[in-house]
């Protein structure tokens, strides 16, 4: 008497279709799953990674005024140092005077 070898059971067509859908779904979503599970890079700005633009803070320069000895006494004097914190020799910030008659500040285009 010989043992009868059990025939492997064939999956039904319906089961095959179900497994095909599951495999396809896993393959489709796996890149997003990997991205989601991967560690995030460290960032100094709390806004990073939240979709907002990074905030750049521009440091306002505080002018430090230094007065040196004049070579000759020219017919021009400073009368006011605007908005600057003073140190060094003897300049002190004065209260803002009336508007100047004119200005100088490089070649204006």
């Amino acid at each position: 008497m010989t043992d009868q070898v059990a025939k492997p059971r064939r999956l039904s067509r319906r089961m095959l279709r179900a497994w095909a859908w599951i495999a396809g779904g896993v393959a489709f979503f796996s890149p997003w799953t990997i991205l989601g599970l991967s560690p995030k890079p460290a960032s100094g700005t709390p806004e990073a990674g939240t979709g907002k633009r990074p905030v750049v803070i521009i440091r306002k320069i505080t002018r430090r005024v230094i007065v040196r000895a004049a070579p000759t006494s020219a017919p021009v004097r400073y009368v006011y140092t605007g908005g600057a914190s003073s140190s060094g020799s003897s300049v002190s910030s004065a209260p803002a005077p009336a508007p100047a008659t004119t200005t100088t500040g490089g070649s204006h285009p």
Binding site: A70, P75, V76, Y80, A84, A100, T101, T102, S107, H108
Partner: protein, 301 residues
């Protein structure tokens, strides 16, 4: 404060203002405004490198050959060559090829309007020693171009301020884009001039009182068309200057001389304060000056 009246127009690619005492009368002021306008028109036709019909363009096109120039052209060129010698070449009227290589190859309004495609390698300067000037006969070396730049503007401001006073104004200030000259007898307390903050043109780093002479300011933040790209060429490198000085405001008896010294100050740095009256704004935020000051109490009064 003295009541003033002003007339604004545009010339040499920059805003120009004539400022005078309001009490001088409208007729004298109108005559002075016309005189100032015609001085600028005349000198722009002589010294502009952006006009094909200017004397400067004609001279540059004839480099390598002897060319007859006008007495005014010869005078300004002689003055520029003398200034170049005095500043050991820091002021250099032959920076034109380097300036063009750095991207300033068209009128500044045009330069701002259109992006610069590509920059060229730096070009050597210091060719002023090879210029031959014999009276009104001039020969430039073959590959050299002249650019008087700010000194032509300062020269014109000097002529215009004198012309304004000759029309009957007791005093007049002519200001061309920050290069200004006072002529005549100003009010006893002088003319107040605000030195703009190079980081914020609406703020001021100093307020000066000008009693005579001229002020000129050179700044690496003015006439700039990109990071590190501006109109002030360091003749030692052929590249836009990077010396730690962001802005130099200089006093001199004439505006042409103030222009020369402000370029020199920007390239040399605070050492220039040993011989020049100036306000320097440094890139670390310091303001270094050697002008004598009035007390805040005097300011308030």
């Amino acid at each position: 404060m003295t009541p003033t009246v002003r007339h604004d127009f545009r010339a040499m690619g920059t805003p120009v203002a004539l400022i005078a005492d309001r009490r001088a009368g409208t007729r004298a002021f109108a005559r002075a405004a016309r005189a100032v306008g015609s001085v600028f028109a005349r000198e722009e036709l002589r010294f502009s490198r952006f006009r094909a019909d200017s004397e400067l363009s004609r001279v540059n096109a004839r480099a390598g050959r002897w060319t007859k120039v006008s007495p005014s052209f010869a005078a300004l060129l002689g003055y520029s060559l003398e200034a170049a010698a005095r500043s050991a070449g820091l002021f250099d009227p032959t920076v034109l090829p380097a300036l063009v290589a750095a991207g300033y190859d068209r009128d500044f309004d045009e330069l701002l309007a259109g992006a610069r495609d590509a920059l060229h390698p730096p070009r050597p300067c210091g060719r002023w020693t090879h210029i031959e000037l014999d009276g009104e006969l001039l020969r430039l070396p073959r590959d050299v171009g002249l650019d008087f730049g700010g000194v032509a503007k300062g020269w014109t401001v000097d002529l215009a301020a004198r012309a304004a006073v000759e029309e009957g104004l007791p005093w007049a200030v002519v200001n061309a884009g920050g290069d200004l000259r006072i002529a005549g007898t100003p009010p006893a307390d002088g003319i107040s001039v605000s030195v703009e903050d190079p980081d914020d043109r609406s703020a001021e780093v100093a307020r000066l009182s000008l009693e005579s002479g001229a002020l000129a300011t050179s700044s690496v933040t003015a006439r700039a068309w990109g990071p590190g790209l501006h109109h002030l060429i360091d003749p030692r490198t052929g590249l836009p200057a990077d010396t730690g000085v962001v802005q130099a405001t200089v006093w001199a008896p004439t505006c042409a001389e103030a222009e020369v010294r402000s370029t020199w100050a920007l390239l040399e740095g605070p050492a220039v304060l040993d011989r020049t009256s100036a306000v320097l704004v440094m890139d670390d935020g310091r303001v270094v000056m050697n002008l004598e000051g009035r007390s805040p109490a005097e300011v308030a009064s």
